[in-house]
Assembly symmetry: C2
Homo-oligomer: 272 residues x 2
């Protein structure tokens, strides 16, 4: 069964997609075809989008599902006037929220993640720059300036997790790779001994790691299951011996790894 999905937003569409996708995961049997329409900022644009929705309906033989975070009641009304299944994610909640807060809403377009707050923007960019400058064991002497330092074997997910934490939590996230040499003893590399409280370990299933490494360097010793097993066992042994908290990244997303670490250290999330 095929159904067309529209995500409508007057800004980026990130919110409409996030909630829409969470709901769609509950229907694994349906073949969804998705269209995102960001920056839908006028009733005229809404008219044009409505025509696309109606064309999809004729094409599919079933009405599309529309997830909308439009904040402009007029644009929202245009969409709702011509198609059946409009999930008005903003309008549905704004009145109950006004009642809960006992105050009127300002009826302005959604303004998430504003660059207009220069300080917030600079914190984010500074965190990203620090993270780029301290990827993969670079500049180990500055490690004490990091908010958090991820350690683990090559390809266990350190770099993407650090970048995510910098981008979305504004954390200065360094990472240090544990290589086979350093894993022969259950002791931390010297440069990490003074920053033990900032360390968090990433582990991974050895077979899964091998598949990931084969994607990078096919048929190398580096990618062999044996090598991966030795390194992963060594890293886990180190984490336990020294008492470093760690997480298995095999079957969870970068978002989930980052959230787990953020919660462990009770880092503040940068709400806007």
């Amino acid at each position: 069964m095929k159904r067309t999905i529209f995500f409508l937003s007057d800004r980026t569409g990130i919110t409409a997609e996030a909630l829409g996708e969470t709901l769609l995961t509950q229907f694994p049997g349906v073949d969804f075809v998705r269209t995102s329409v960001p920056f839908l900022t006028s009733p005229d644009k809404a008219m044009a989008v409505l025509a696309r929705i109606q064309a999809a309906e004729r094409n599919d033989g079933a009405p599309p599902i529309v997830f909308s975070t439009l904040t402009d009641p007029q644009s929202q009304a245009v969409i709702a006037s011509g198609t059946q299944f409009v999930f008005d994610l903003f309008g549905t909640w704004i009145e109950p929220l006004e009642k809960a807060l006992g105050t009127q809403s300002s009826h302005t377009a959604g303004q998430m993640h504003g660059i207009s707050d220069v300080n917030l923007y600079l914190r984010r960019v500074d965190a990203l720059n620090f993270t780029l400058d301290h990827d993969d064991g670079l500049r180990p002497r500055d490690m004490h300036e990091a908010d958090v330092i991820l350690i683990g074997v090559s390809r266990s997910g350190k770099t993407p997790t650090c970048l995510y934490m910098a981008m979305h939590y504004h954390l200065k996230a360094a990472n240090y790779p544990l290589d086979a040499d350093e894993l022969r003893f259950d002791t931390l590399p010297p440069c990490l001994r003074g920053v033990r409280d900032k360390l968090y370990g990433l582990s991974i299933d050895a077979e899964h790691l091998s598949r990931i490494r084969h994607g990078r360097r096919p048929n190398s010793r580096y990618a062999s299951v044996e090598q991966c097993r030795t390194e992963v066992a060594g890293a886990q042994s180190l984490f336990r011996a020294v008492g470093i908290p760690y997480i298995d990244t095999t079957s969870i997303s970068i978002e989930e790894i980052a959230t787990t670490i953020q919660q462990h250290f009770a880092f503040a999330r940068p709400y806007r």
Copy 2:
């Protein structure tokens, strides 16, 4: 006026926060204090969180606002049983969606961004690695492998935007800095001439750029308003002369810049 906000989720809480924050921006007069509770995966944990919600209510003298994407009806019921303003972002929509699709939902916990799809994970990590390897004009010879190449003066937002596009759209996003020397003529640097169709320009208000640069190198010539004005004018002149699309990044977020570029090139979004 102070009000406590809770974001509850059985996964990361990203969705509850995204929709909640969009709604809260409509109430600029209220002083919100936020708590995010991710990985709320059992009725027992819900009981413990309910106690925190009730404590906040006593403390504030008003009930907290709870945004929940809990998918487990039992945990959701525990929360709803003991506090007044629970916005059930999942439960409210799942039944109408079942009706719209004419099929039952699977009632499983939300699984966004699964690492379990190895190919999707590898595409994401490959995009991030490419982007890291082609930041700030590194390896200009590989530019043809990029999906998109951002150009602009130093500190116009190229690196954070590239990282965002790699992380969230899985795009191989290179960037190349336009320096004062290269901006003396309205011609592209040689390494960019064969990849004109992949170029997108970032511009920025010169005074704003000067403030950002002062944060990095206080009182330098680099950060002076005069220098910023010259460079920004040169970059805009180049964009127009060569016909490069560009966007002013001064008052928009990294998310909005990335979405604008994604829409311009009609890059597919990696829906899950």
